[in-house]
Each structure stands twice: as C-alpha cells, then as structure tokens.
C-alpha cells in the first residue's frame, strides 16, 4: 500500500506542476514593476489567432510575438493606452477582452443596467398593485363588514369548541 501512495503522490505532483506550465519567454524586464504591468496587460489582451486565450496562455507564434511586443513597449515606457492602441490598430477590437465604451458597445455596457432597471420597475409596479388591492379589500360596506364579523366570530367559536373538545 505504501509504494502505491508514493506513486500517487508523485503523479499528483507531476500534474500540479503541469498546470502551472505557461509559455516561458526569456525576456528580461528592466524592473519588477514593468514586469508586473506587462504581464497584466498581456493577460487582458486576446490572442488574435485563438478563440479564447489571452496572450500569456497561448502558444501560437502570433501570441508569442505580440507578447514580446507588449513586454518591449512596457520597457520602452509606453503607456497602457498606447499599447492597447498599437494592438487595436492592427487586430481590431477583437483583442480586447474588455470592450471600449463607444457607440456600438453601448448595448453591452448599458444593456444589463437597463434590464435591471426594467426588472426593478416591474417589481415596484407589482408591489404597488398588490397594495392597492389589499386596500380595496378593506373598503367594505357596513353590511359586508357585519357579515364578515359574524363569519369570523362563528369560526372563532367553532375553533374554541374544538379546543374544548380536545382538552376534555
């Protein structure tokens, strides 16, 4: 049993190291800050060749080149906006995981908010309607009220009778 456990542990260890296998580039950053910024940028940009991988995750040659391009631009002191501009002038908005706020993306950005507002409106209207209905129910004519009282009393005394019956 013991060797089996050891084997299992080794297999698991292998798997765990495999999951961290990202493309390794031998790129030396000028500073740790640059490295952090470049990596986060590369995480936010989509590889144009792959359908849903960012520049870091992808092994495709295009992704590798673009990754290095991003690293270089960060080291050259370019701003995030400049780098994103560089990418979108070549590959279009496809490379952005987070679409820009502009004419054709308003529905993306505002759609959920609009839906939420519509939902809230429906809820408010529904509650109001319910309230006015219960208020209507309270508006009884004196005869109706008397009838209701009688009924309630009757049922109450029935309940009382039942209670008595149980106790005895």
């Amino acid at each position: 049993m013991k060797p089996l456990n050891l084997l299992l542990a080794m297999v698991l260890l292998c798997i765990s190291t495999l999951t961290f296998a990202t493309p390794v580039d031998t790129y030396e950053f000028k500073s740790a800050d640059n490295q952090k910024r470049a990596l986060s940028l590369a995480h936010e940009l989509r590889c144009p060749q792959c359908q849903n991988q960012n520049l870091i995750d992808s092994n495709s040659p295009v992704a590798r080149d673009l990754r290095l391009e991003v690293y270089k631009m960060v080291d050259e002191g370019k701003s995030d906006d400049q780098i994103i501009e560089f990418m979108t002038t070549r590959y279009g908005d496809f490379v952005l995981y987070k679409p820009r706020v502009e004419g054709r993306t308003y529905i993306l950005w505002l759609g959920p908010v609009a839906l939420l507002l519509i939902g809230l409106m429906v809820v408010v209207l529904f509650i109001r309607k319910q309230r006015s209905q219960t208020a209507d129910a309270a508006d009884l004519t004196p005869e109706q009220q008397a009838e209701l009282d009688a009924l309630l009393k009757g049922s109450q005394s029935e309940v009382d009778d039942n209670d008595k019956g149980k106790k005895s």
């Binding site: 144009p48 060749q49 040659p61 979108t88 070549r90 279009g92 496809f94």
Partner: protein, 195 residues
C-alpha cells in the same frame, strides 16, 4: 390594452432569441481587419530571391494589386497556390507575395518547383510586416488600391469561388476608379501644359 402588456416578455424573449440565433452563424475565425482604409504600413525588407535588394511600401503603389501572405509551412497556402498561378496567367491583377516567417532557401525551392505567381516577393522573416498588417495566420490576402490603401482583407485561401464572388468585383471596381483618376489627372496636366 392591459392584455398587450402581458405580451411584452414574449416579445423580449423572441427579440433576444433572434439576436442570439443570428450569433450562431457568425464566423468567429473571421476578424474584421482594422487596416481597411489605411495605407500599407511602412516597411523595408529584402526581396526573397535576392538578399540585399530592398523593397518598401512605395514599390507596391501605382496599381491595384493583391498582397498575399504565404509560407512553405502553411498547408492552406499550398492549396491556394495553383489558383494564384491561374490568376497570374490571366494577368488580371499583379500579386505581391509576403513570405511570412519562412526559410529563404525553402521558399525559393518551393517557388521553383511549384511555379511562381508573384510579381514581387517580400521576405518577412521575423513576421514584422505581418504583425503590422494584423496577420494572424496564413494565407491572408489584402486588396490594395493604386494609392497603396488597403481596401479589403481576406483571411484564408483564395479559390475560384472567393475570387469570382468577392475579390474580382472589387478589383474591377478599383481598377475603374484608378483609370478614371488617371484620365482626370491626365486632362488637368494637358490643360496645365496648354495654358
């Protein structure tokens, strides 16, 4: 009136259904080109066949042309190749090649064996021009007008169908535009000379 209100959710559902259904038929492989309407990016690269001889974007101007990104490692390029040969034989439009991330010797050998449809071949070893063109795979074909403006990008192999349905109508139109412009400028030149 009140009953109509009850149909709003159904209408919304149908609206979204149609929207999403249409989305099913979009081709996610096909990216719009961000470069359409922009000039060919500036570059200076060697000619494939003769190292040392430089080509720049200026060499591609002056006539409507196709700019075809290809490589020996690319199977779809091999599929596309015979059709490019036919196009060149028909002399409808010059095709400029961009040999993309390739080995020079191998590329030259390939052209020698399979035929060379290209009027000019740019050797883009590092893929830098490809990067500036927004190339994400090969083959890709750019339609360039006589001023060197990219008018259309087609990703994937060009074949008879793509050519006759998509590319050729555009090529014809651009060539007419170029001819009209040349005629107009010819006239102004003539009047300028006369006065």
């Amino acid at each position: 009136m009140k009953k109509l209100v009850l149909f709003i959710p159904l209408a919304l559902f149908l609206g979204m259904g149609i929207f999403l259904y249409k989305g099913l038929f979009l081709n996610p492989q096909k990216l719009e080109s961000a470069l359409e309407g922009k000039p060919i990016p500036a570059f200076q690269l060697e000619k494939l066949e003769t190292p040392g001889e430089m080509i720049t974007q200026e060499d591609l101007k002056g006539q409507v042309s196709l700019l075809n990104v290809w490589a020996t490692w690319c199977p779809s390029c091999k599929y596309e190749h015979p059709f490019l040969m036919t196009l060149t034989r028909q002399k409808l439009v010059p095709i400029y090649g961009i040999n993309y991330r390739d080995e020079r010797a191998e590329a030259i050998r390939e052209l020698r064996h399979q035929g060379d449809p290209y009027a000019l071949n740019i050797f883009d070893k590092d893929g830098r021009l490809g990067l500036d063109l927004g190339v994400y795979g090969a083959p890709e074909t750019f339609l360039v007008d006589h001023k060197g403006i990219i008018r259309f990008r087609f990703a994937g192999p060009v074949d008879q169908r793509v050519w006759s349905e998509t590319l050729y109508p555009m090529v014809k139109q651009l060539q007419q535009e170029a001819a009209a412009e040349a005629a107009a400028s010819g006239k102004t030149n003539a009047t300028g000379a006369a006065s």
